[in-house]
Amino acid sequence: MKLVTAVIKPHKWEDVREALETFGVTGMTVSEVSGYGRQKGHTEVYRGAEYDIALVPKIRIEIVVDNDDADDVVGIIVKTAQTGRIGDGKVWVSPVETVVRVRTGDRDEAAL
């Protein structure tokens, strides 16, 4: 099993969710996060005083999937979230040792 984690632009979140659902992903965890990459932050001006805002808002999606599906899921996220402009985000995949469904105690693939 793999954990796919994606950090994307907030306005792409609905598109990504729909695409993943169409593919058959049945659940995910989503958080509103802040961060920056090469995009850096942005500038805001209050009563003439300029502030460099280092952190920009992003959406983080976490999905645990079968080994076979990991590449497809990554592909869908990249294709859907891409705008081609700086700040589109990152997707990464990490191995998962064990998954347990809390309600039934099912383990691993049965728990996905």
Partner: protein, 443 residues
């Protein structure tokens, strides 16, 4: 007594009262979320504290018979508002207590205005002590100087020197309220020092929608402030009402235009600030200029104040919410503008410099503005230092980082932790002392 005049003055008093909660929102939105409650409490505490001392002796110090030199009213004349419930007690055409009510809310908001200069860092108890002393030895005397006309509050009573001897025109409080509060704010900002991280860390306004609501309420209430100062339902009230609208609208445009040119974007904070700058500037001048004059005063107020709010970074004083840039500068400009743009066709019937009146009114305005500025600044410095050196005025650095709301009031303004119904885990749980007992639950 005139019932129409009385109705308008009582209504105006209620309008002006609403300005202080409006100010609390205006200021509260501009600070960080960890200090919004303390910011708002500094305004609300003024409603409570000044409301009480106004009844006890504040009105009498302001509007009692002059003790000498036009400097201070006699505190014994109206101690506890004695003698003012009689139907014969009148100020011009309204019951004395209607006038007392109207003036009370001026005292309240003037004290509250100062608090914007010392956001995030003033201990609450010392702020109350400061408010009490400042109202007593700065506001009430200055109110007497500016607003107490000979014979208005008692037969043969002598009033204040600015109103009766100098004859500077300050219709609704450019000197007594705005220069007064602005100079005091500057002095307190110097006494308390900069916030930790001032000029380095981002101290963004945490809620600009609150700021916009506050500016709206201030504008609404300000019609009571200015048009209510006519103390009657008459032409003077109508002229001052319309001039208040004109100047404020033009000031918002002026501020936004300056931002667009200087910073690239017109901001909501700029619109809200421009509104307040225009209101401040037209306050002393609304009875003496034409609506066109008001447009000019307002537009320039927007420009001047938008430029002035940058001074604190240049000179390194932390006037957190720009009480100096908006109220002191706007108040000075508005007070001087009478000497420049007054027209004899307006109710005050005086010509300023640009209407062929020469500099006669201009120097009176300058002396009035300068006197209030110097008096307020110096006395506030003394009060501020006395409190700082004795009981301490400022919270500790550690407390400041933690946030003054928790430190001074044991509260936090917002609970965003609850998700999907009910409180989230970060909301905490009821302390044992407060939780219902088992018997209580079973019953």
């Amino acid at each position: 007594m005139d019932t129409g005049d009385t109705a308008w003055v009582l209504t105006s008093a209620a309008l002006v009262l609403l300005m202080t909660p409006g100010l609390a929102l205006f200021y509260g939105g501009m600070v960080r979320s960890k200090s919004v409650l303390n910011m708002m409490m500094m305004s609300f505490s003024s409603l409570a504290l000044i409301g009480v001392i106004w009844v006890l002796y504040g009105y009498s110090l302001s509007f009692g018979n002059d003790l000498g030199g036009g400097l201070l009213g006699d505190p014994t004349d109206f101690w506890g508002l004695k003698g003012l419930m009689s139907p014969d007690a009148l100020v011009f055409t309204v019951p004395s207590l209607a006038f007392v009510a109207f003036q009370s809310v001026f005292a309240i908001i003037t004290v509250a205005l100062i608090s914007g200069a010392i956001a995030d860092r003033a201990r609450f108890g010392p702020w109350l002590l400061f408010s009490w002393i400042w109202a007593t030895i700065v506001y009430f005397p200055v109110c007497h100087w500016v607003f107490d006309f000979n014979g208005s509050t008692g037969t043969d009573f002598v009033g204040g020197w600015i109103a009766n001897n100098l004859k500077a025109i300050d219709f609704a409080g450019g000197t007594a309220v705005h220069i007064n509060a602005g100079a005091a704010g500057l002095a307190l900002a110097l006494v308390l020092g900069k916030r930790k991280g001032f000029g380095k860390e981002a101290m963004r306004p945490h809620n600009l929608t609150l700021v916009m609501i506050g500016a709206g309420l201030l504008w609404f209430g300000w019609f009571g402030f200015n048009a209510g100062s006519a103390l009657g339902a008459n032409t003077l009230a109508a002229v001052t009402w319309m001039n208040t609208l004109s100047a404020t609208a033009a000031a918002a445009l002026g501020w936004l235009l300056l931002e667009k040119i200087r910073d690239g974007k017109p901001t909501s904070l700029g619109a809200a600030s421009g509104i307040v700058a225009g209101l401040v500037a037209i306050t002393p001048s609304c009875s003496s200029v034409s609506p066109i004059g008001a447009l000019i005063i307002g537009f320039l107020a927007g420009i001047f104040c938008a430029l002035a709010v940058g001074l604190k970074y240049k000179f390194g004083y932390d006037d957190s919410l720009d009480v100096v840039g908006v109220h002191l500068i706007g108040g000075i400009w508005g007070t001087l503008s009478v000497g420049l743009l007054a027209t004899a066709s307006a109710p005050a019937a005086v010509d300023g410099l640009f209407y062929g009146g020469g500099v006669d009114q201009l120097w009176r305005q300058a002396v009035g503005a300068g006197a209030v500025l110097a008096f307020s600044f110096i006395v506030t410095l003394v009060i501020g230092f006395a409190i700082e050196k004795s009981i301490g005025f400022r919270i500790s650095e550690e407390e400041e980082v933690e946030g003054i709301d928790g430190v001074e009031h044991a509260e936090s303004a917002y609970d965003f932790t609850g998700s999907g119904g009910g409180s989230g885990f970060a909301s905490g749980h009821l302390a044992a002392a407060t939780a219902p007992t088992q018997e209580g639950v079973n019953a």
